[in-house]
Amino acid sequence: MNAEKLHDALNYLDDGMILETDRLRHKKKKTVIFRRIISVAACICIVATASFGIEHIRNLRDNSPLEENIETPDQDEEGDIPPAPENSRYEDEYTPPADDSAPSVDGEKDETSVSYEESAPADESAPEDEGPPLEEAPPSEEAPEDKEHQIVLTVTEITENGFKGYITDRNDIYDPNTDVTVVYKGEKLPETGDTVYVYFFGYDKTTVYAKRIFIVKE
């Protein structure tokens, strides 16, 4: 017996078995083609999304006012605040809390620590004594600007140019408990242990360039 005879014999295979295999041949082919179409479509979506994202980020950077018009009041007065480093970031998307949701400035009422959540809705009718007691109140004409960032930290050390502390809130910039140095030239500095709301205009990995602060006494 040789291979030719075997091949001839295969012509006597049952039709049922042949049809079963043939269905598989066509079924799988269609599935593979469909999978390929899905794969190509997914790749196109990823590329399109990435392109859009990159373009969006470029636009944000191009429109960033960081290097053009950010000046702090303290800079005007003393002029010795170091410029923000080159790798400082400034996020246009950030929306500062409304003034009404900012900590209360009434330092005489309650001197306990407060928890402050950015997501809390501004509520003009909220009782005043619910706000944190602050040592330094922001003048109403110095309402936070649209492009301002905010972090909350606990002060651990007072330095020549400001103070040091660790992050106590959740924000998009630093993880909780991250040690940061705050460069601040305001008149009133916090004391060790104070909770401070820092509004700033520039930052890098470890340093924040504060525009103004709110102090919550321990």
Partner: protein, 186 residues
């Protein structure tokens, strides 16, 4: 058009039967032929011969699975063309000529006997394959009946090429043992 209608056309000796067969199964048959012959022109010739064979065989035949019926015809015609082509290539060699002459003596030109043997062998292979797992059976038929490339057969059976190769090797050994048990001379 449904297979039954096409078969009816053959039985009515309506030439539209060949047109509808070509529309429905032309590509399928061409692929079977091409897997054997690897030549477009020869494949077309094989498929055309298939239509002629179908025309001549229906009636009296009334196949229930027209695709399998036509596929078998195409396969056998293509194999015959392949063998004839190889004989043509060997014409220049005296060894080849003498080999052909000796082969004729050995086979004694008894086509009926050969066909009976082929049928018996085919039935034994049928029994063997029915005992195999579905995955193995499909791979074996895909590779040795449809003569699909190993890579493609592995793909539509949902396995790697290496695994398919290994399964086919084991199946060939098992088939050899089975046929020996059944009394075939291997």
């Amino acid at each position: 058009m449904r297979d039954e209608k096409i078969v009816d056309l053959y039985w009515e000796r309506n030439e539209q039967a060949i047109k509808h067969t070509d529309e429905k199964y032309g590509k399928y048959l061409t692929r079977i032929a091409f897997n054997i012959l690897a030549d477009t022109e020869d494949s077309k010739e094989s498929v055309n011969d298939t239509y002629l064979a179908a025309w001549n065989s229906m009636p009296p035949q009334r196949p229930t699975a027209l695709s399998a019926y036509l596929g078998k015809i195409t396969r056998q015609i293509s194999i015959d063309i392949f063998r004839k082509r190889n004989r043509e290539k060997r014409k220049g060699s005296e060894y080849a000529v003498s080999y052909d002459e000796i082969s004729e003596v050995l086979s004694a030109g008894d086509m009926t006997e050969e066909q009976v043997q082929a049928r018996l062998l085919g039935e034994a292979i049928n029994r063997f394959l029915k005992e195999q797992p579905k995955e193995v059976r499909n791979l074996f038929i895909g590779r040795y009946y449809f003569l699909d490339p190993l890579k493609e057969a592995a793909r539509y059976c949902g396995m790697s090429e290496g695994k398919a190769k290994s399964i086919l090797y084991r199946t060939r050994i098992l088939l050899k043992e089975y046929l020996q048990k059944e009394g075939f001379e291997i």
